[in-house]
């Protein structure tokens, strides 16, 4: 083994987009290879858990951990990689906030499984369901237990840095990698522990070129129902529920720039404890009516509040705090 600092990346409960975003950093990936010894990265190379277990504690300098904690295996790896890593980065929205898999916290685990194994496009004539333990002549086979809820990485182990995004933007990843390499060479200082890295200090609106006015909202419309979107005016002012005001900057306002509403993948702004609650108060503050019936009607324009306000943040939300929503 070389004397280079060790690098690891792991995917827990996630889609794989984070890995692609890392590979997408282009030639910077060569810097990773030049500066690090990649010891563990299931998507890119073959390695066994026991190889990681064999490492000394703290042997991995930088570990990018993406994905939320849904299974017993995810949890085991979180603990293992925490123990082995000096810098553990909660990488991407799933690890940081639970992301879309976290929305499953609204349903019982059994319902999640039933749904997954019986969708229209699922070919499952015998109605097979996974068994977590199965007896075979050689003994019993187990698959990792599907836990009650999705938890964020920091609800399971201590985390050094957070990197938001679904997935994090490649240029932001490149910048972070560069910073860590510089810090390794003593040319830069790392931010204080617990910081969010690879993102901006403000919110999406800060990077959005659209014209903004004092906000008064008379209706919410679903973007697909809008006949013509004004290309220059703030989407929210057009009644399109854009999550930009509450979403951390860093992406360059990619979505609003092409007339798609921000859906909030970069998570809450600095210091905000509950993304959805923030956004709900903000939207509620600018609804332009004092008549309860009319307010009700305006709010009906948001048919899926959980998806609108907590698409990425439910597992991290203060309200649920990683607890099962379906349990009393």
């Amino acid at each position: 083994m070389s004397g280079k600092p060790k690098f690891a990346m792991y995917w827990a409960s996630s889609c794989g987009g984070c890995e692609i975003a890392v590979l997408n950093i282009g030639e910077k990936i060569l810097d990773v290879d030049a500066n690090f010894d990649v010891v563990f990265w299931p998507v890119a190379m073959d390695a066994k858990y026991k190889d990681v277990e064999a490492l000394e504690d703290g042997a991995i300098t930088l570990c990018l951990f993406n994905g939320g904690i849904r299974t017993a295996e995810n949890e085991h790896l979180a603990h293992l990689l925490r123990r082995k890593s000096k810098i553990l980065v909660s990488f991407g929205s799933c690890a940081t906030e639970g992301c879309v898999p976290g929305l499953a916290n609204l349903s019982r685990p059994q319902d999640v499984i039933d749904t997954a194994f019986s969708t229209i496009s699922t070919d499952n004539p015998q109605g097979v369901r996974p068994a977590f333990e199965y007896a075979v002549p050689e003994g019993s086979i187990r698959i990792p237990v599907f836990q009650n809820v999705v938890r964020t990485l920091d609800q399971v182990v201590a985390v050094d840095y957070y990197m938001p995004g679904c997935p994090p933007e490649s240029h932001q990843i490149a910048a972070v990698v560069e910073l860590v390499i510089k810090a390794l060479h003593g040319q830069a200082e790392l931010p204080p522990k617990g910081a969010t890295i690879g993102a901006g200090a403000s919110t999406c609106c800060d990077e959005c070129p659209r014209q903004r006015n004092v906000k008064t909202i008379k209706q919410f419309v679903r973007i697909q129902d809008v006949e013509r979107i004004d290309p220059d005016l703030c989407l929210l002012e057009q009644g399109i529920p854009c999550n930009g005001p509450a979403t951390r900057s860093g992406c360059g306002a990619l979505c609003p720039k092409v007339s798609a509403q921000c859906i909030g993948c970069y998570g809450p702004a600095e210091g905000v404890v509950d993304y959805g609650a923030r956004l709900i108060t903000a939207f509620a503050s600018v609804i332009d009516s004092k008549d309860p019936a009319e307010i009700e009607r305006i709010l009906d324009g948001i048919p899926d509040p959980a998806g609108q306000f907590y698409r990425f943040n439910l597992a991290k939300s203060l309200l649920r705090a990683g607890k099962p929503a379906w349990a009393a």
Partner: protein
């Protein structure tokens, strides 16, 4: 390549604060329900890791000895934070902050947590209450660690005052301030000042003629160089804060050019349109479509009542315009909006009379000769519709017997629980006037007699001696259904005489209902406009009924007279003067310290989304188009927190209410601090 050591920053441990915890017994208010000694010991032991170095209890922390305890500890032990567990911040936050300040500690490093209003007064289980008190203290300790020293903001006080309502309370207050040399805007909604008192003939207990004592003050207020009198006007908007209010006043169009009008009265004389005057004449008399409510009105200029004016409704007539000798009638006038800056506001909007129709069994509105108290005042008034003759509804018959019913709508669970304070005396006054002017037999039906102020009981004794009969009992019914001989054509009072212990039926010719005083019908809107609140009965709430009766919860806004509850004229006048004294005290201070609890925008974090821009009730937020960020004017911000909650970027924080402070207080309340320590000890 060799790996360099990575300069990892561990989260810097908070510099340890030295916290003193003081648990108050509040006599037995707290100590009877909370085990104060246990809370003290618990805080000393279990909150030590959070920085508590001393915890004490004391019978009355707010006493000078209690405060000295704190001051001494700050000096001797070098305390850097103080938590007092006692009553409510509303009552004593200032007291304990003051003690800290005297001992050299920034007052905002002191937290008052409530274990009285929020614990001992609302619980009965001593054990549970003690546990909750511990949690409340724990929350306070976690919060106070995150408090930062703050300095109050000083702002000048505008010397002008806005007085709303031109009854005797408002007139008194305006005159006191004006005579002290400061400008006053006196706003009255009706065409003339004077209020209810202007409707009366005689006033108890001295039987002075109301006009004789009121008119000179009205005239003085009307002509005072320091008073800008705005009648036929209403306040429509109030912004700002103590010392610096900005009020918008709507001056309704009078359709009379006051520069030209001499008050000759020819227009009112010639106007062909007669209307029942429901306000000043209480429905007993008439006025014209162009009118002053009464001849001594101040100002003397009439107004045109648009919905009743033939010209405005049909386009013809113009009699007043044609006949006015100075061409003062101007149908083209428009409502005007006036903006004034004032340092203080006095609300003196008075009361409305209870609508006696709400008690159908007393027959008002159905039985002609049942009168309300205000109608009776107009009947007795020499300038009233009957020139002061007390006669029945037919306008000529003198009554031979009269019943006065007390407490109509007061002290009655179906209507108002409170006592209207003036009705006993007013009813006694009525008895006297009836007797004096008609010689009729008078019966007063009362529940209890309340004649407590100076010269009141003497007046009552006098009326008793005059031969008025007082029957103790709540009248069940007033009816015209005769059953017994002698009842035909009369109104019969059915009552249980509780002193004699028997039912009585007393036939009379005339009945006077001493109706309750009620909050103005629009009191809630008025309260809302000025940012005040009303009690469950609907009266405006004073800051403290006993100790601060003319102040309100909003600094710089005072209240005088019947706006806070029923009062007689002496009390109303005293309150008017008291409110003026408070205002003058404020003006003399020239500047005032504002609470430094303010919101501010972190310019880095603000994305310029403009969500907050329209939310501030005090208009403190401005938007910089060039930099695309919002900013808060600290002099205007009242620290209400609206924008703090609304900012989706979390860019706005409120001093004294940062996320960190609130969340750590919650952690403390949930005892997570103690749990963490226990876990650490176990590990």
């Amino acid at each position: 390549m060799s790996s360099q050591p990575i300069p990892l920053h561990l989260p810097g441990e908070e510099p340890a604060e030295k916290i003193g915890v003081y648990v108050c017994h509040c006599g037995t208010n707290i100590a009877a329900t909370v085990d104060v000694a246990e809370v003290r010991d618990w805080a000393g032991q279990r909150l030590e890791d959070s920085g508590v170095v001393v915890s004490r209890d004391y019978k009355f922390m707010c006493s000078s000895l209690g405060q000295e305890l704190i001051e001494k500890d700050i000096k001797d032990l070098g305390l850097t934070r103080v938590v007092v567990a006692a009553c409510s911040p509303h009552l004593h936050e200032g007291t304990f902050r003051g003690a800290c300040k005297r001992a050299g500690l920034n007052p905002y490093l002191c937290e008052l947590v409530s274990i009285r209003e929020q614990v001992s007064w609302v619980h009965t289980d001593r054990h549970a209450a003690t546990d909750k008190a511990k949690a409340v203290v724990s929350g306070g300790v976690e919060r106070v660690v995150r408090n930062t020293p703050l300095e109050p903001l000083r702002v000048p006080i505008h010397p002008a005052t806005l007085v709303v309502g031109g009854g005797i309370a408002g007139i008194q207050a305006a005159l006191e301030i004006a005579n002290a040399g400061f400008p006053v805007y006196l706003v009255e909604r009706e065409p003339s000042i004077g209020g209810h008192m202007a409707q009366f003939d005689k006033t108890f207990p001295t039987l002075d003629c109301a006009a004789c004592i009121l008119t000179p003050r009205m005239v003085e207020a009307g002509g005072h160089p320091n008073i800008t009198l705005l009648t036929w006007s209403e306040v429509v908007d109030v912004k700002g804060y103590v010392g610096n209010f900005v009020a918008t006043i709507k001056k309704k169009a009078r359709y009379v050019n006051t520069e030209l009008c001499t008050g000759c009265g020819i227009c009112q004389e010639k106007c062909p349109k007669k209307i029942v005057d429901e306000v000043y004449e209480a429905g007993l008399g008439y006025r014209k479509a162009v009118y002053t409510p009464f001849p001594q009105a101040v100002p003397k200029y009439p107004v045109i009542d648009v919905p009743n004016c033939t010209f405005f409704q049909k386009g013809t007539c113009r009699a007043c315009e044609k006949l006015c000798p100075t061409n003062a009638i101007d149908f083209t006038q428009k409502d005007e909006l006036l903006t004034v800056e004032v340092g203080n506001i006095i609300l003196a909007t008075g009361y409305d009379l209870f609508d006696a129709r709400r008690i159908p069994q007393y027959g008002y509105g159905r039985l002609a000769n049942v009168f309300t108290s205000l109608e009776f005042e107009r009947l007795t008034n020499a300038a009233g519709p009957t020139n002061g003759d007390i006669v029945l509804r037919d306008g000529k018959t003198k009554p031979q017997s009269v019943a006065v019913i007390h407490c109509v709508g007061s002290r009655d669970r179906n209507y108002n629980n409170y006592c209207s304070a003036i009705c006993c005396m007013q009813s006694v006054k009525f008895a006297h006037l009836v007797k004096e002017r008609t010689g009729a037999q008078v019966y007063n039906f009362y529940i209890d007699m309340r004649t407590t102020a100076k010269a009141y009981d003497e007046f009552y004794q006098r009326v008793l001696e005059e031969g008025t009969l007082f029957v103790r009992g709540r009248v069940a019914e007033v009816t015209d259904a005769a059953r017994l001989p002698g009842e035909a054509g009369k109104l019969i009072i059915q009552v249980e005489d509780t002193l004699a212990g028997k039912q009585r039926r007393i036939p009379v010719d005339m009945v006077i209902l001493s109706a309750a005083l009620e909050p103005r019908r629009d009191a809630k809107q008025t309260a809302h406009l000025f940012g005040l609140s009303c009690s469950a009965d609907g009266w405006m709430i004073e800051k403290h009924v006993k100790l601060d009766p003319v102040a309100t919860m909003t600094e710089g806004i005072f209240a005088a007279g019947c706006v806070t509850g029923p009062k007689d004229i002496p009390n109303t006048v005293a309150q008017g003067a008291a409110a003026a004294a408070r205002v003058l005290g404020m003006i003399q201070r020239r500047e005032i310290e504002l609470e430094p609890i303010k919101a501010s925008v972190n310019q880095e974090q603000c994305s310029g989304c403009r969500i907050c821009n329209n939310l501030c009730p005090f208009n403190a937020i401005l938007f910089h188009e060039d930099r695309m960020v919002s900013e808060i004017n600290p002099a205007l911000c009242q620290g209400c927190g609206t924008c703090v909650a609304a900012c989706p970027a979390g860019a706005i924080s409120g001093t004294g209410f940062s996320n960190e402070q609130i969340l750590s207080q919650i952690d403390g309340l949930l005892m997570l601090n103690v749990a963490r320590q226990s876990a650490a000890v176990a590990a």
